[in-house]
C-alpha cells in the first residue's frame, strides 16, 4: 500500500497508525501534537549547506512487515556479508523493513534484566521506561520540522536497557534491512545504561534502492553515573534516500559515551551527533568517517556540550570525497559556565580525490568558562603527490597507492568500531565506494 504524503500528514492517518500498533495513549498524543507542530516549525539549517531542494516530503510511509528469518545458517544473500559465519552474534536483532525478522539475546543477559527489543514491543512491555526517555531529555520534538515529523511518523527502531551494575560483554548488534526499496525509515533507537553498567551496541543500515525515499532517524543514548556505552554504526543508505540522522547522547557523572560512526550513505545526508556531558568527569569520543561519491551532498556535525566539571569531549572526523561529492564537517565544542576543568578537542579532515569534489571543515569553540582546555585542528586537501610517489616507487600502482592512502586516512575511526565483523564490513563498503 502506497500512501502519498498528503494523506499521511493527517490526524486520521496517524491515529490509525498508532491504533494499529496498539500504542499507549501518551504515544498517540505525542504523535498528534508533533504532527501539528510540524506544520509550523522550520526546517533545520545546517551550517554551510542548503537543503532547500532536498526531498524530505516524497516517500511511502507504512509499516511493512518483513519475512522472518528462521536461522542464521540460512541468511538471505543480501545480508550474508554482514556476518562472520564462524562467529555468529549471540545478541542480534534484524529489522527487515519495519518489523523484526530475527531476534536473539543470550539467556544470561535476559536473566540479568537486559532489554533488547524493537521499539513497539518495548512500548507494550516496558511502557514506563520508554516513556521516561522517549524524546524528553535528549532530542526534543519541537527542535525543528524534521524532529517533529520523526515523532509523528516513527515506524521502527530499537530499545536497549541495561540495568544497574550489569556489564554486557558481548556486543548487541542490530541490522536494519530496507528490503522494500520504497519504504521510509523513521527509526527511533534508545539505549539506556544504568549506573555502573556497560554495553557495546552496533547497528548497520542496509539498503539497495535507487527509489526516492526518506530516512529520518533519531537515536537517544543515556549513560547514567559511571556507565560506559560504546555506540558503533555503519549507515549505508542508497542514492535515492535523503537522510536526516540525529544521534544524541547524555553522559552523567563519570560516564563515558564513545561513538564510532561510518557515514557511508550514497544519498544526501544531514548527520548530527551531539553529546551532552552533563555530569562531572563525563567523557565522550565522537568519531565519524565518511566517503562521498557522485553528486552526494553531506553535512556532518559533531558537538560536545560540557556542563559538568572536568568533562572531556574529543571529536574526530575524517572524510574522503570523490567525483563531485561535497562534505561539510562542523565540529563544535561548547563549554558552559561552571564546567571548569573541561577539555574540548576536535580534529576534522577532508581528503578530496577529484577536481570537482568539495570539502569544508568548520571548527567552532564556544567557551563560557575560564579554567578549561580546548583545541582544534582542521584540514582540507588532496592526496599528497609525494606519498603517492613513495608508494609507487615500491611497485604499487597509482590506483592501489591511492587506496592505501585513503584506507589509512580513515583507519583511526574504523579501528575503533567495537565489532570485528562490522569493522570488516565497513572496510568493504569503503573499498566499494572509493573504487
Amino acid at each position: 500500500m502506497t500512501v502519498d504524503t498528503e494523506q499521511i500528514y493527517t490526524k486520521d492517518y496517524i491515529e490509525q497508525f498508532s491504533k494499529d500498533r496498539n500504542e499507549p495513549e501518551w504515544m498517540k498524543t505525542l504523535r498528534l501534537e508533533a504532527l501539528e507542530q510540524s506544520a509550523t516549525l522550520e526546517m533545520p539549517k545546517p551550517d554551510k549547506t542548503s537543503i532547500v531542494r532536498w526531498n524530505f516530503s516524497r516517500f511511502k510511509h507504512d509499516y511493512v512487515q518483513g519475512e522472518s528469518i528462521e536461522s542464521l545458517e540460512h541468511l538471505p544473500e543480501e545480508i550474508k556479508d554482514f556476518f562472520d559465519p564462524e562467529n555468529l552474534p549471540e545478541n542480534l536483532l534484524i529489522q527487515r523493513n519495519n518489523s523484526i525478522a530475527y531476534a536473539s539475546l543470550s539467556n544470561e543477559l535476559k536473566e540479568k534484566g537486559v532489554i533488547f527489543t524493537d521499539i513497539f514491543t518495548a512500548l507494550q512491555e516496558h511502557e514506563d521506561l520508554v516513556k521516561k526517555y522517549y524524546m524528553k531529555d535528549a532530542v526534543s520534538v519541537d527542535e525543528h520540522r524534521l524532529t517533529a515529523l520523526h515523532a509523528a511518523l516513527m515506524n521502527g527502531g530499537i530499545f536497549v536497557y541495561v540495568p544497574k551494575n550489569v556489564e554486557v560483554k558481548t556486543p548487541l548488534q542490530v541490522v536494519f534491512w530496507q528490503e522494500d526499496p520504497t519504504i521510509a525509515y523513521f527509526n527511533h533507537v534508545i539505549v539506556v545504561a544504568e549506573s555502573n553498567s556497560s554495553v557495546n551496541y552496533v547497528e548497520n543500515y542496509i539498503s539497495n534502492n535507487e527509489d526516492e525515499t526518506v530516512a529520518n532517524i533519531v537515536t537517544e543514548v543515556f549513560a547514567h553515573d559511571n556507565a560506559r556505552i560504546t555506540f558503533g554504526a555503519v549507515d549505508n543508505f542508497a542514492t535515492g534516500t535523503t537522510i536526516y540522522t540525529n544521534r544524541r547522547g547524555v553522559a552523567h557523572r563519570d560516564a563515558t559515551i564513545n561513538w564510532s560512526i561510518g557515514q557511508m550513505n550514497d544519498g544526501n545526508t544531514i548527520f548530527e551527533n551531539i553529546t551532552e556531558l552533563v555530569g562531572d568527569n563525563s567523557l565522550c569520543h565522537a568519531n565519524t568517517v565518511t566517503v562521498g561519491r557522485g553528486k552526494q551532498i553531506q553535512n556532518i556535525t559533531a558537538k560536545t556540550i560540557h556542563w559538568g566539571r572536568n568533562a572531556e569531549g574529543y571529536i574526530l572526523q575524517h572524510g574522503v570525497m570523490k567525483d563531485s561529492a561535497s562534505n561539510v564537517f562542523n565540529g563544535i565544542g561548547k563549554i558552559e559556565n561552571g564546567a571548569s576543568g573541561s577539555n574540548a578537542e576536535q580534529t576534522s579532515r577532508v581528503l578530496m580525490l577529484s577536481e570537482k569534489a568539495r570539502g569544508d571543515a568548520n571548527p567552532i569553540l564556544l567557551i563560557e568558562e575560564d579554567d578549561v582546555m580546548a583545541g582544534h585542528a582542521a584540514s582540507v586537501g588532496r592526496v599528497d603527490p609525494l606519498q603517492l610517489y613513495y608508494l609507487m616507487s615500491r611497485g604499487i600502482t597509482k590506483q592501489e597507492a591511492e587506496k592505501l592512502i585513503i584506507h589509512g586516512f580513515l583507519e583511526p575511526v574504523v579501528s575503533q568500531l567495537p565489532l570485528e565483523s562490522v569493522k570488516k564490513q565497513l572496510k568493504q563498503v569503503i573499498e566499494r565506494k572509493i573504487n
Binding site: Y390, S393, G395, I396
Partner: protein, 261 residues
C-alpha cells in the same frame, strides 16, 4: 643469467625551470657497486630522484635505459617493477598504513598477480630481515614511517630493498643521520645483496660509508655533471685531500650547480 644494465646518457634535469643536471653519463651493471661523491648541491640527489621519476623533476634531455628499455617512458611504479629501487633520503610518512601491510603490498606488486607471496612465507622473510637489521619487530605494526626516528627510516628503506630484491638500487645518502653502529648494520645488509644480479649506485658525501661498503667505481659530481671517475683510490684521495685539488685540476671555482666554471 647476468645482471641488468642501467645506462644514463646525457641526462639533463630541471627543477622549477632551473637546470640541475647538465649531461650526466653513467653505466651501472649487475654485480657492480658504484659510489657517487661530491659536495652538497652538485646534483647527486637530483640524479637519484630523476631515475626513479620524482614528480618535481623534469627530464629535459637524454635517456635512461634499463636493459635497453627506456625508463623515462615508464610510470614510477613500472620502473620499480622493472627492477629499479631508490632508498630515499626523505621517505614519506603514511598514516594508517602499517609497515607490514605496505611491505606485503609492495612485494606482491613486484611479484605480480597470481604470484603473490604466501602469508607465512612473508612473515618469515620479514622477521628474518628485521632481525638482520636489528629493527624492533613492533615496527612492522607501526604506521609507515610515522614517528620513526631518522635512523629507523633509513633502516626501513634498506629493509624494503632487502625484501624487494631489485636489480639496480640507488641509495641516496643512506648513511646520513646514522651512528656508527647503525652504519655497520646497514652496510652489512647492503653487502649481503652483492651478487651478479644486483648493481647499486651509492650516493654519499661522506667517505666513511665506503670504509664499510667497498665500491668498484667512484664518481665525483660537480656542477651537474660527473667530472671524474676512478676506483676506490679516488675516494681515498678525496678523503685525505678534499675536493680542492680536483677543482684546481678541472679549473672549477665553485662546485655547486648554477655557477659557471
Amino acid at each position: 643469467m647476468a645482471g641488468s644494465t642501467l645506462e644514463i646518457k646525457d641526462l639533463h634535469v630541471s627543477v622549477e625551470g632551473n637546470e640541475i643536471l647538465k649531461g650526466v653519463n653513467l653505466t651501472i651493471k649487475g654485480g657492480e657497486f658504484h659510489a657517487i661523491m661530491g659536495p652538497n648541491g652538485t646534483g647527486k640527489s637530483t640524479l637519484a630522484s630523476a631515475i626513479m621519476g620524482h614528480p618535481s623533476y623534469e627530464v629535459t634531455k637524454g635517456s635512461i635505459l634499463l636493459d635497453g628499455e627506456e625508463v623515462l617512458d615508464m610510470e614510477v611504479d613500472e620502473r620499480a617493477r622493472a627492477g629499479l629501487f631508490l632508498a630515499m633520503q626523505y621517505p614519506s610518512e603514511i598514516s594508517g598504513v602499517t609497515t607490514s601491510d605496505f611491505l606485503r603490498s609492495s612485494i606482491n606488486a613486484i611479484r605480480g598477480e597470481g604470484n603473490e607471496i604466501p602469508l607465512m612465507k612473508f612473515i618469515k622473510e620479514m622477521d628474518q630481515k628485521l632481525d638482520a637489521l636489528e629493527i624492533d619487530k613492533n615496527m612492522a605494526q607501526r604506521y609507515l614511517n610515522e614517528g620513526f626516528s631518522g635512523g629507523e627510516k633509513k633502516r626501513n628503506e634498506i629493509l624494503q630493498m632487502s625484501l624487494l630484491k631489485p636489480k639496480i638500487a640507488i641509495l641516496d645518502e643512506i648513511d646520513s643521520g646514522l651512528d656508527i653502529d647503525a652504519l655497520k648494520i646497514v652496510s652489512d645488509a647492503i653487502n649481503d645483496m652483492r651478487s651478479e644480479e644486483f648493481g647499486t649506485l651509492i650516493i654519499t658525501h661522506y667517505q666513511r660509508l665506503l670504509n664499510y661498503i667497498k665500491p668498484d667505481y667512484v664518481h665525483v659530481m660537480m656542477q651537474g655533471r660527473v667530472v671524474k671517475s676512478g676506483g676506490p683510490e679516488l675516494a681515498k684521495r678525496l678523503e685525505e685531500e678534499g675536493y680542492e685539488w680536483l677543482k684546481d685540476e678541472l679549473g672549477i671555482k665553485d662546485e655547486t650547480v648554477g655557477q659557471e666554471a
